[in-house]
């Protein structure tokens, strides 16, 4: 073999501009967001800490629609999880590398959703292929890792998975860690052989446990005392605020699991209108729909319409050029449980108003869709079906 051939053989496949086609998706829960990658058309691997303590999560597709994911297997010790998707998806399944020996300075490509941004690529090198940390081996890299990257794949130049992003050292610069591919492969192989709907691996012997046991039936480890195993089988009672929001959303026909967007945050679309729900402080729960942007003409009439008293209890505001429809609920009302029905009705009314008002503002006042508007649902038959 000539030197040229060697060079050609080693030429990286690269991750040019087709990352959108890869089967890497954002995972949403009531605690935060993370990343995950397909191991087949209906299963996703991510970190255990991304999905914990939820058994159902939302997975967002490229077109920003979300589908339900059900957690099927957890390895809390190695921080891995498998999620089954409610329908097959067509993203490209990445190959798990069979190269056991990684080298320092070897290139690493990290894909994921840092700080909630769309799918992003960061690059670096392997700083240490087998770094010992907390009695486990990790692949250490200098590539940028941020919250939201957790559970995403680390790839080599040949687009093969060499690790799963899991954590970084906050007190240091450019010290990130991935779970080595050999451990990932073992976890996936064990999942393939799994017959039960849900199980958690024993931290000591990897035995799959399907019920909240005190002791591991295989190795006798005290699961409850050392590892709070019961928490993996119990859905915690929701905070009253979460209970109120999610009951209200369900009453308006929105699946609250699909709407979750981190702690005390929800986001979803109704027809064409994006809607966000969040707490800005200890006193206010905000529902807001950044629906359209102002046009260039007829602004006086538009502004008068937006400020008209008839919109109460809702209101509009301008954030830059984006028009938002808002509803503010005081937290004291959330705890006045006898009034929940009236408040939930108000939330339902808000959602319905958001869905129709964006069309009105575009048609009557020359506004243009906002970046988050789902334009395919603006007006017309599809819109009617969706709403």
């Amino acid at each position: 073999m000539t030197l040229e051939n060697l060079t050609h053989a080693a030429e990286p496949i690269g991750l040019d501009d087709d990352i959108e086609a890869l089967g890497i998706y954002q995972v949403y829960t009531g605690s935060g967001t993370g990343s995950g990658f397909l191991i087949d058309a209906t299963h996703l691997v991510t970190n255990c800490h991304v999905v914990q303590p939820y058994r159902q999560v939302a997975v967002e597709m490229r077109d920003r629609t979300r589908i339900l994911g059900t957690v099927q297997r957890l390895d809390p010790h190695r921080d891995l999880a498998v999620v089954e998707l409610s329908r097959p998806v067509d993203g490209a399944v990445l190959e798990l590398s069979d190269v056991e020996q990684m080298r320092p300075k070897q290139a690493v490509h990290i894909l994921g959703f840092p700080v909630g941004l769309p799918l992003s690529l960061t690059e670096g090198v392997i700083s240490h292929p087998r770094q010992l940390l907390d009695e486990q081996y990790f692949l250490q890299t200098d590539a940028a890792i941020n919250p939201g990257n957790s559970g995403g794949p680390m790839l080599d130049d040949h687009r093969r998975i060499i690790a799963v992003t899991t954590c970084k050292l906050n007190a240091a610069d450019a010290v990130g860690f991935g779970i080595p591919v050999a451990d990932v492969r073992r976890f996936v192989d064990a999942f393939r052989a799994q017959t039960s709907a849900f199980g958690v691996q024993c931290p000591a012997c990897q035995e799959l446990i399907g019920a909240p046991l005190r002791y591991c039936p295989s190795c006798g480890l005290d699961l409850e005392r050392q590892h709070d195993f019961g928490e993996f089988f119990d859905t915690p009672d929701p905070h009253p605020l979460v209970g109120f929001v999610e009951n209200s959303l369900a009453g308006a026909g929105i699946d609250p699991v699909l709407a979750r967007h981190g702690n005390h945050n929800w986001s979803f679309h109704v027809g064409s209108a994006p809607i966000k729900v969040w707490c800005c402080c200890s006193d206010h729960l905000n529902f807001s729909s950044p629906m359209v942007q102002t046009g260039t003409r007829g602004l006086n009439e538009l502004f008068k319409f937006l400020l008209a008293a008839e919109h109460a209890p809702f209101s509009f505001d301008l954030n830059g050029t984006t028009i938002r429809l808002n509803l503010v609920v005081h937290i004291s009302d959330v705890f006045a449980s006898q009034e929940h029905a009236a408040l939930s009705a108000r939330v339902k009314q808000f959602i319905a108003k958001a869905d129709v008002t964006d069309n009105l503002l575009i048609e009557e006042y020359g506004c243009v869709p906002a970046p988050e508007t789902q334009v395919e649902f603006l007006k017309g038959a599809e819109h009617d079906e969706a709403s």
Binding site: F303, A309, P313, D317, L318, H330, E339
Partner: protein
Amino acid sequence: MPIASLQLPQPIRRRHAIAPRDFGRRDRAIELYEAGEFHDSVCETLAYLLPGQGVPDLRREAFSFVQGSARVRIHIDGDEIVLCTVLAALNADSQATAALRFFLTRLSSTGQMFQPRLRGEEISLEFRDQLALMHPTKLIEVLQRMPMEADSNDSWMVTQFGVAIPDREPIAPLEDEEFARAIEIWNSHWNAVDELILESRRRRSVRFLDAVGSFAAYHLRYTLPLFGTIRARLNEGADDFTDRDEHPNKRDSALAKCIKDMRRCSEDELRQCLGHATYAINPLQEGTPSLLTSTLGSGNRMQTTGELRATGRSMEAALELISDYLELLAHYSWSPEVESALRVGLNLVSGKAWREAADVLWNHANATSRVFGSHGEHDREDEETEAHYDA
């Protein structure tokens, strides 16, 4: 030759003679609300927030009160309570589009219960909700913040957009003698700040810049009854130059810009922005013994100030202490004894050289904290975080 001392004149701004709040009434209002006595809960909340002022039976008659230049009206409409304060009226001469954009951008917002509402050509800040959803904490928030927004913006909107203010409470102008004294304070203040910023640049100390910025903002808030455009511009500048998270260079520039802007104000402009307003709800936060202890007592901050003084950096030490006294007087209401003690401290150091001022005020601060501070007992500071503003 750097500035040798600071003049700290008696304030022209009047203290608000407002009866102290009875927190028991607020607790009673919450009990009434939880028992389903919604109307009585609203009345009890008003009695708590407006001590000593008769609150009528809202089912029979509306109630109104004055907060600075804002007139607030409260009435019950069926099973709903309505709070309203008129902001402005658009007219043929006003820049209507700019004004409406301002309402939508700056006054309408998430994170607040009241919103601007347009009826015809008149815009008001309004809050309307069912009595059954009127928890006292929510009502207190609306009653404090809504008039504050109206009071802060009305004069400014007239200047900027040419709108009319159809329902504005007039603010009593200063008497001639007061105005003459105000001009003297104004000029002397900005001369001093001008010299202090030069000193800050010479020393290149962020801590010194902190103290200069605090003095520039708190001294005027304490001494002059400013309102309207000039108060809005000063507060806008102070937001930047007192922001300790901002880069020092940016803060320095913001302060220099503010000094230039304020020095350009004519006597006529100042006359229009100085006056004695009345407030039904105490616009200041209530000062507590623990606040006195944490500011003037033996905390880290005072320890560092003490070290500055001990190492001969008297100017920094004195300026920090003076700024702390001014902040306590400008932003908090106190019993007459505490207020008098704080004022005595400023009297002792007005016009005194830095070293003497630092020594005298250091001893006075420690004594004040010992006499009026919390000494470790529980007080209500943590639970009382209701909105306040600079009046």
